[in-house]
Amino acid sequence: MKMIPVETMINGDRTEFLCNSDESLLDVLRDRLGLTGAKEGCGTGDCGACSVTLNGRLVCSCLVLGVEVDGAEVETIEGMADGETLHPLQRIFIEEAALQCGICTPGILIAAKSLLEKNPDPTDTEVRYWLAGNLCRCTGYDKIIKAVQKAAAEMRAA
């Protein structure tokens, strides 16, 4: 089959691409658009390293076909900072050592941002359950939860 043309909005920029019908959004981001911030940790929606938002909803990009984002809005880690200015979550993750190898970090930042947009004042338990689909093998999650809470507090005060 011929490739399918798709028109979409990625991180606020109009984007067009061609892809095969069976390519996931993750494949498209990484292989066709050079947006390698989203990672493939499992390809089956079990690890969250590929997390992006689609029309404002947190999703695993490995579970969305590239063709499905025609006419939609996608936000990836590459769109999280505003030029030189890091999002508070990004800055605080560095300050609080909430990453070690960093492979899960883009997915977790996107997921945490999505959480705080929906619930600006979550309990630790709510943060942990929201992030249950984002596996981290290095940190044991502790500093991640603390960083999310610290960022949430800063964002509430702003």
């Binding site: 069976d22 695993c60 969305v64 063709v67």
Partner: protein
């Protein structure tokens, strides 16, 4: 509908290209027609959280992927005759954000919201979960105890089928070629009625249910159970409705004898397997425990006091 005109290459030479056709039919009729016409393997795309996993694992290689999310009503939750009609493309998360459905059928919503992770819940649908027909499907037991109805569209039009009649074996539904489900109907509730769904998983999230139980109760004004429905998941090839378990609760206020009867009936209804997730004895034992716990939760939600 997009149809690609491929040049007549030899099939062998095509192997370097993707073979799957992706279509977005413009109506229910067109969707049925393209499914009926398909000679190869066809799959329906709503949330995609099962079918894309199977694609990646190369367990299924569809020739045709039919995306139906955009069809009229698929993404809507609408009041109907005191109950709710839920479009087949409504995600678990969307369902959970609907205060009306959540208040009326909390167990159904619990089942839908336990599927996978936050990311998965933003895409997964009850209908997709139902049609994948895993014995451990989280959305199914509570849909069964709710007496939910599936509206099935096919070449001959629409018909309503009880949800319990949809799964017929692991990975198989009773749907015929050309058919797909467009919505689920949850009926109205009387006062003092509630449901609950519980599942056992080894972690706190992310696992497939090792065993599960849904209980739906109706009480009278004094708190006595007047109607009870119990369904178990992951303990048989398909969801298991257990009339004896429900019967054990009727006329009671969930006293010890009633619960014992519930548990015994639940355990007796199990015919699970031993696999990498659990043993026969573990599934049977925990199914009874979950039925008991779900009954207590449903009872308390319905206003009952123990």
């Amino acid at each position: 509908m997009h149809e690609s005109g491929c040049a007549a290459f030899a099939p062998f030479a095509e192997s370097w290209k993707t073979q799957m056709r992706y279509v977005k039919p413009e109506s229910f009729e067109a969707a049925s027609a393209v499914l009926v016409a398909e000679q190869g393997i066809a799959r329906i795309l709503t949330g995609g959280t099962d079918v894309l996993v199977m694609l990646k694992a190369e367990v299924v290689e569809p020739d045709l992927m039919v995306d139906i999310k955009h069809l009229p009503g698929m993404r809507d939750i609408v009041s109907e005759d005191g109950g709710y009609r839920i479009g087949a493309a409504v995600s678990s998360a969307q369902l959970g954000e609907h205060a009306g459905v959540k208040a009326m059928w909390p167990g159904v919503v619990e089942g839908a919201e336990l599927i996978g992770s936050t990311q998965v819940q933003n895409r997964a649908t009850m209908v997709g979960n139902l049609c994948t027909a895993s014995p451990a499907a989280d959305s199914v037991p509570a849909l069964v105890t709710a007496n939910a109805m599936a509206r099935v569209h096919g070449p001959d039009g629409a018909r309503d089928v009880p949800v319990v009649d949809i799964p017929i074996a692991p990975g198989k539904t009773s749907l015929l070629k050309g058919e797909f489900i467009s919505s689920i109907y949850l009926p109205a509730r009387p006062d003092h009625a509630a449901d609950a769904y519980l599942r056992f998983i080894p972690r706190t999230e992310m696992d497939i249910a090792v065993s599960s139980a849904a209980v739906s109760l109706e009480l009278d004004a004094s708190g006595t159970v007047t109607a009870a429905c119990v369904a178990l998941g992951a303990v048989a090839p398909t969801v298991r409705l257990v009339p004896d378990a429900g019967a054990a609760l009727i006329g009671t206020k969930l006293d010890a004898a009633a619960i014992a009867g519930l548990v015994a009936a639940a355990e007796a209804a199990c015919s699970p397997i031993t696999d990498k997730r659990g043993t026969i004895e573990f599934r049977t034992k925990t199914a009874g425990v979950l039925a008991k716990r779900a009954a207590h939760i449903a009872y308390s939600r319905a206003g009952g006091k123990t």
